[in-house]
Subunit: 282 residues, 4 copies
């Protein structure tokens, strides 16, 4: 996207401020960004509320533009300050940053009228994804993600079992209750079955025949047992994690200027990914 | 059902493709079958939706016939390719395969009119059981089933306790609330009690008298404690499983041509069930 | 209640049949009793259903009398066959046996009309307690009860915390939402809070103001954490139980003829409670 | 607030009665206080119920005044009997004691009429906080609080993940369902999402479009997995606690007259916080 010359000191410093949180400047940058993201989410939410005074919508319109511009500057700064911009642009957070900045610009290109405007609005709501950036700053988030990744196989088998149960019981309930009770077709019946098995129970659809109520009782008691399975899986995974936490090596927020690899050990002098030197200024 | 000559090489090869998933051909067969099963379920679900265009129902009718014919061929191939067909026919999956293929043929024999058609429709919905085949292909499913089998005694006692609680509280609520609140008889009151104790809470029936609301509060807080019991049981069972997983021997999808016993150890040369040689071609 | 002569052989034999389940006769007696109890519960439930044919209610009336007479005989037999009847009469099961047999006789003494009849009906419903007898026959039930008894202190503190939370949030919701939303007074608001915190969520009462919905969201997320506490308690208790199960001594259903103490060790020759000899005939 | 002379024997004795529970007098004081707090809560709850006889409201008015006066005396006694009153006044329980006593006096100063009265009523309801005192008397309460404090970091990350999930899904549901289904704006949609993810499911708002029901199903199944996380955290924390309970040192309810530090070890002769002698009379 841009031609990036090697070893320009100001860009390495910018890189440290934007991508790392070990220096005072880097910490301030992250906190300000966090507040901006939260503000932007509150503004998007307020905008959807009807019946407020006109000046509120006006204020929100301008606030939105200011935040969008600030995010655009941040996005460009992120691209400039890294040696291999592609590493950032096509990373998970790079894509989120892009799609959370773009909606307002798109609404300028396609102003349209009527139904088109609603589509644009939908695009603007995508900025809510901006909040996903936040999780980057809290270290424990990775731990949770790792635990989920490791028990992926078990969770998939469990979900598979739940879906089979819902298919069988959903079809049975459709046959027993029929359209008068709100079980208008199998997909709706399947939706009801998931609502029941997960113990949510909205009550928008519910059995009325004795046989339907009997089967529903069975499904609920089954849901009791089923809810125990993911709990057991996560409990086992978490207690395993706790044991390994004893010989837990500490990492810092250093991020390699060359390849953008983060999570280096405390005291590491070279990037463990590309061998580029870290910690220029101690 | 059919006379099965001994040691015909093409049938052993067919057996390997259909019953095993270690060879490329066997893997392809299983994946195609899986997709067909999923498609057939989607079609049955779509058929129950009202208000679609006429051509959709037409398409679904023909799609159903094609899938039914394919499943029939698979069913016959399974019978031919095994030495003792009875082992397959009266196995769990054999019966599911049979009952998920038959409905459409039955609807031809008994075309009837009016109410009879609805009965036929119900039979066609049984094809949803076809999905149960799928679990055969995912290895971890057995582990879940085993864990459930081993804690069967505990689960039964727990279910028994839940049913006693529901009987006592259901009767009490029927006496307190009466018919005006929707607690029309003890079975309905029992249904409400299960809905509440499992924390589903549809809200179709709910207490309105102060005493009823007080008792309902007690039931809900009790349900809190009760939901902890199956979780504790499954957690204990799962952490036991994890320990034994250390000295876990690896099995493959080899299936004996003679007795259809599956789950042989890697490197096994003879069936551990009947002594028939395995692994003809390595 | 009755004068009980010492050492009459037929009474000791009757004692073995009624109170123990090690001999074929004792086992048969328990199974027949179990079936009678289940039948009686089904009959009480059916009786509360309206709109059935007249002969059903007739049948239920006579069935009820037959079962009541059989239970009366059993109750008297239990008193006769034990040396110290008071031990049985004032035991937990003795009282349940008494109160589950008496309602029909009471309805004869006070036939009355109008409202009195309803009271009698309520007394008849007490027979549902008869089912509590059943748990006596399943050995694992004691284990569950023991686990609950041991974690009693923790559970009480937990329940106390839940009640404080509900009082604070219930009052707050009453002040925020007021009567228009269904939060008519603090007790009702407290009931709603328990419904929400236990994740039952009937929906008969629900917040409508933005502030109420915000507070309700907080309560629900809190309920998330709160539901984890009893699960943790029971899980810990159950995994402790599993360890002690290794050196688990086996007991049988022998019951002392002298003091009615049950749960003697396999091979015990004398009652561990009163020293009276057990196992007269091996 | 008051000038407190040093070492007056009657004040040290009063301190022991009010702040400690090891002597018979101290125990009686705490039990009486506990009963008064519970009575006061019941009275506040009853007062909010409409449609009772006039004498009930009269009785409640006088009962409220009597309890308020008694609590005022207790509050002053607590201040007098301690050497450094500020330690108590600005402690957690000191503030609760103050704010649970004050409302009725405030209602005298600002009698007002109409809307002002409602505000006063709200202040009176604050007395419900009085119940928080109770937890002080039950020793296990601290254990629960400690467990929660230690897993604070994990719980915060978890809550953060839940809020992100709710923001994304809430916005998506608002876009899919729109105002006709009750998803009037993003905050309401967010509220619905929390109701669903926590498996409460009031049913006041629920999806009606097929796509909305499909997304809701996904949210519910996700909620299944999410509910397992706090359970796993608390389970791990509780089983850790159980291990450390082996070398658990016993503390008593001794409270230092000088600095009000409580929880001294059995046998301690001097306050571990300020060195002031404890246990004057053994």
């Amino acid at each position: 996207m841009k031609n990036t010359p090697k070893n320009s000191s100001w860009r390495e410093q910018l890189h440290e401020v934007i991508y790392e949180a070990d220096t005072p400047a880097g910490k301030t940058f992250d906190v300000v960004l966090l507040i901006l993201i939260l503000l932007s989410i509150v503004f998007v939410m307020l905008e959807s509320v009807k019946g407020l005074d006109a000046w509120v919508y006006n204020f929100l319109y301008y606030a939105e533009w200011i935040i969008t511009v600030l995010f655009s500057i941040e996005y460009i700064a992120r691209i400039i300050s890294i040696e291999k911009p592609k590493k950032y642009i096509f990373s998970f957070y790079g894509l989120i940053d892009f799609f959370s900045t773009i909606p307002l610009y798109v609404s300028l290109l396609f102003p349209g009228g009527g139904s088109a405007l609603i589509t644009v609005r939908a695009l603007r709501l995508l900025r809510v994804f901006r909040i996903l950036k936040v999780s980057r700053y809290i270290g424990e988030g990775d731990k949770l993600m790792k635990a989920l990744r490791e028990s992926k196989a078990k969770i998939l088998v469990f979900l598979f079992a739940v879906i089979i149960l819902c298919l069988i019981f959903g079809t049975a309930m459709y046959m027993i209750e029929g359209e008068e009770s709100g079980f208008t077709n199998i997909p709706v019946s399947l939706y009801w079955c998931i609502v029941t098995l997960t113990t949510v129970g909205f009550g928008d659809i519910h059995p009325v025949t004795p046989l339907g109520q009997f089967l529903a009782s069975l499904i609920m008691i089954l849901g009791y047992g089923v809810i125990a399975v993911p709990t057991g899986i996560v409990s086992a995974e978490y207690s395993k994690k706790d044991k390994s936490a004893d010989n837990n090596l500490r990492t810092n927020t250093q991020s390699c200027y060359h390849c953008n690899e983060s999570k280096h050990l405390d005291g590491a002098d070279f990037c463990h990914n590309c061998g580029y030197p870290l910690n220029r200024e101690k």
